[in-house]
Symmetry: D2
Subunit: 375 residues, 4 copies
């Protein structure tokens, strides 16, 4: 990671008392240049000190720097000094609030699903497709009224994030994929708090997560696809991997694991013959992200850690490696139906959520999308 | 289930103090015509009363009928009055002991893997391929010396058993399958006792079970295949689904569930166009087993229970349905990569182990393979 | 258990779609003489068939007999043919509804806490204090207006129920206790559904259950106490063990167990010297309940099962013994601070809830408190 | 914590591949002045590089500094340059090996139970009784032959360690205790690896841990007691709290928690009237350890963290606070049987094991018991 001398950026956190919000606060309280300046939550929490408003569920105490910050309602007026606003809002309120922040010329990095399918909102997994920042100017220009600074940028669903990193590495090394089967075993923390009742998941597997399979199947295409000219109007569009149609089939399961989504993945390459397991292992290990290359302080040194042991990765042992910012892969081997199969582990509350948003914001700083930090 | 007036059959249990042995004893103690007559275990247990020899791990007490039975070593001389011998032996000793019992003209129904790949030993999932009993005469005849009564018959690995039932139902209704992807989430009881250390599996997934993927991929072909003429020598051979090659790819995981293996399955049919999800649902629900049709008392009324709710089957809620003798399927839907995908649940300690052996023995009685019961 | 030829009693279930209500329905659907006649739930469920109204969370299917029963609102008019009404209502609504049923001359057996502290409502653990039925006439007489048939009778909190059975056995054998320390390890099912979020209890212990310690400390005194003359007014009152003051100190913990409350108990007897551990073991094993002696069909043959093994009882292995209707005790040994200590296990959803209510209703039938069944 | 400029001390680790050994290695690899110099394990591991010999079960990778260290057998000759030897050996071999090391003039800090009851071996919980180092000279002098440097010093059992810290704080503030009831809920990691089979503990409580209750009841007296003159022979002896007899009764349970022992404790003071809950809270929070006062780098800033929330401490949320080096207490309240009750949480693999040994070694350095570091 190259050195940096970035100047301080004031940031806000929306949904600050929720599960994702608490992670934002933990991570941001140790960030080299993002400084928590404003917290937003529901009107029930507004006016209280953070330590009183929150039901803190993290394994380290509330950071001293936010303990006494007063929580505000999620209105742009309270965040106008923030160079970046992180949103950990629930999807039932995220749509309107994030839109209001954008109109107010604020820059929103959102974990919510609301704008992921918007044709002008980048859906960026920071270890994969930072090139999609290129859509930001068009988002601003086509907004009514046109915006100078404000934009919304989303990161992916937690289970999408895990799988898309090795898929991107494979496409980079071996060309387009043709099909991909994914079976997930997802942690309970992916459902937020209170989330899954213990009576539903102890000594059990629930073979269904509402909307999750569709998210993986759709988001993966947007992320792995490029940006193409959209006809003759001079506009750009996400191409949804359209040049090389990619069929994705996901099966999602909830398992009694606290943190870390495990996914069994099998892929078929367009290229014949396909690469060998050893070639795949090497390509995965060699993959580097823009985020790390550009010097994002939260980027993991090893984008993908490739395990050699037969029984890894495992969520309990591997989810905290590199503070959960990278992705672990193991059991790379031949598949008798498609070409190659392997196991992916990604920390759903780190790279699968808050860490991705923060990395996207770091990329925005480096790429000059945060006004006061542009060169 | 038709009525029956089968006369009593004395049975023995090998490995009686182990996990599978305990299940045999629980089930057999309530059986309408099998009567526990002899128990075999290691020399460490031999000479003790069963209740003293066993570390009982079941949720109901040791059945009164076996509490005071004296445990013997696993030698044929102690079992010579047994019409049927059930083996719950570990694979490290099962090979030699089961062979010795066969030479002594005893009939062995084994849960161990040792003889599953033997070209003359049927590998029978009783809800699927009872026709493979037809190999028994050849097994006896080719034995050296030839046997009059003795034979070994195995049931399948617990994770194979679950998946092969719906696959058989689909092939029966829609013709041969072309490929099949299976991802399992297997219960800890599948590993016996002491089995998985709690430190390895609590709050965790272990994405590897030694030898398991190979078992599913190989055993399924033997079970779903037929029996063909083996050249000009007048002999028969298992055809391993050879007329319609079937590619199977399995990924096996251990999850923190006590009982019940959940499997995500996706299949491609040879037939074009493939059946619709609704047709598949109907075919699965309509499938009936020989075991039930013939009147086996342990056969489930519903071979396959097809769930309509989006989030079923679940191991904790569905594993005990029909005393774990049937198989549950849910989430039948289209697959974007193959044709149809669904979720299977099978109770690994019931239909996946002891219940299958007992059903096979019931079939043997009905089909006349137990000498004193032949007509 | 003596034979019985009790005639059929129509029963209703309030809170029929909830956790306790589902247990009532499972148990009552197999009852020899209680027949489910009416189901009550919130207005959201009213008018629906039971199978559509309920989110069924039991491990066996919805009993056929209630599947198509139409759910009503919890109003007496819909239950007027019921000889007995079981209430599994939440305490936030139980107070008003149960009162309305009583005024309508209905007989209510309640699991809710609302009337447990009422000076005229018996709080009966059926394996302990069936003598408290004697308060029913006074409850009817003092009601305004006086009632002919209607009354409310409650059973105890689930953790109280477990401990009070062996305490009653000890007092019966050895005279009054002087003090008692109780530390509970309670199952998640004790909190109902959705109850405890999985994020709060997986890989965790929560050393606090709101109101639980007070319930144990207070209810135990009411249950173990007698009924005394209340001054000169000819009335009776519960004496709260007042003749021999008993100090009880409870510490309640939630642990990651699905069903079965485990409690570590230590007692000091008034009598000096105290009984030996062996005497205590014998007294516990010899204890019999009125419920069993009188022939209640749901009464367990062994009121208290005394384990000899060092590591029992355990919730997973012992909670289903006798269908959860009895209590298990183990590790009876000397205590260096008080006199004797031991471990109790009681199934919180069986004897700790629905089974107790049903047993109380069976006692009411036998004792002549259900009008049409009085002699 | 005062600054320090201690010079480097070479250390060895016995049982380096085991559960406790792995923790020693993790902690020592980040230590300011202890430097891992030699590793000992069984002959099966000897000769291998550490990374090959170990089945690493920690959540962070094998530290680079030991990855390639060659493992030796546990013989003093391989450790002769070590100023300190840490022993994580199992008790079945610890007795002989630790004795051999002492004879070889090595200084052993042991986690094993073998020498805890030795009348000349200090049993030191570093947050409590560092004064017991005073027994070291006598241990050396009475050894046959007398030793110049060598000695053995043990730390306490993990469940003893948790409870003895608040008990010491209470005795320091309010004078001697008279009796103490302890009920533990202990994590599976306390049993080492492979330790508890998952089939024994998932969805379960095991109300028994072999030898554990006796350890708590005995060790607590040795730790809380002083050192007295042993008759007229000029020798000293541990007084086992003999001036003020203290009755302790422990009940030990295993629960499905990975790390962190929770204990419900109730105490009676000799002093009448006893302190109030608020006084107890203040005394616990104010308690400081010699280890911290003297500047041990591994000592926690807060010896005892006193929680105000009703439902804390909880093992999952609180076990990693201060890297598990302190003890958490909550729910301080009146007890109806004794005086005051509360809940203690201690990290069994940190302060309950390796961290205590390391703190004891740090104390030894500061107190001048490590020869080359004496002043």
């Amino acid at each position: 990671m190259p050195p940096h001398d970035t100047k301080e950026v004031k940031v806000g956190v929306l949904g600050a008392t929720g599960t994702v919000g608490q992670r934002f606060i933990l991570l941001l309280s140790q960030h080299p240049y993002f400084v928590i300046h404003a917290l937003g939550a529901s009107s029930r929490s507004a006016g209280k000190r953070y330590s009183q408003a929150v039901t803190w569920k993290q394994t380290s105490p509330v950071p001293a720097a936010v303990r006494n910050l007063v929580v505000n309602e999620c209105k742009p007026e309270f965040f106008k000094d923030c160079g970046v606003v992180f949103s950990g809002l629930d999807s039932d309120v995220a749509g309107d609030i994030e839109s209001a922040f954008r109109i107010a010329e604020l820059i929103v990095f959102s974990n919510a699903k609301n704008y992921r399918r918007d044709p002008h909102v980048p859906l960026i997994v920071p270890l994969v497709n930072s090139s999609h920042f290129a859509m930001v100017p068009q988002q601003r220009a086509l907004h009514s009224p046109p915006l100078k600074n404000g934009f919304i940028l989303t990161n992916a669903n937690c289970s999408t994030t895990g799988v898309v990193v090795p898929l991107a590495a494979l496409e980079k090394a071996f060309g387009p994929l043709e099909s991909c089967m994914i079976t997930t075993m997802q942690a309970i923390s992916g459902a937020g708090y209170p989330g899954i009742p213990s009576l539903d998941i102890m000594d059990n597997v629930v073979p269904y997560i509402s909307g999750e399979e569709e998210k993986i199947e759709w988001e993966t295409l947007k992320i792995l696809g490029g940006i193409a000219d959209d006809g003759d109007n001079g506009l750009k569009a996400f191409d949804m991997h359209g040049k090389h149609p990619l069929r994705i089939s996901a099966s999602c399961n909830r398992v009694p694991v606290i943190e870390g989504h495990t996914e069994c993945v099998s892929v078929r390459f367009a290229r014949r013959p396909p690469p060998s397991p050893q070639q795949v292992r090497e390509a995965l290990a060699a993959y580097t992200s823009d985020a790390y290359a550009l010097g994002c302080p939260s980027a993991p040194r090893h984008t993908i850690f490739v395990h050699e042991e037969a029984d890894r990765p495992q969520p309990r042992l591997d989810r905290d490696y590199q503070m959960g910012a990278g992705v672990s892969v193991g059991r790379v081997r031949q598949c008798r139906v498609l070409d190659i199969k392997f196991v992916v582990l990604a920390n759903n509350v780190a790279i699968g959520a808050a860490t991705s948003s923060i990395l996207n914001a770091e990329l925005a700083v480096l790429k000059g999308y945060i006004p006061s930090h542009s060169t």
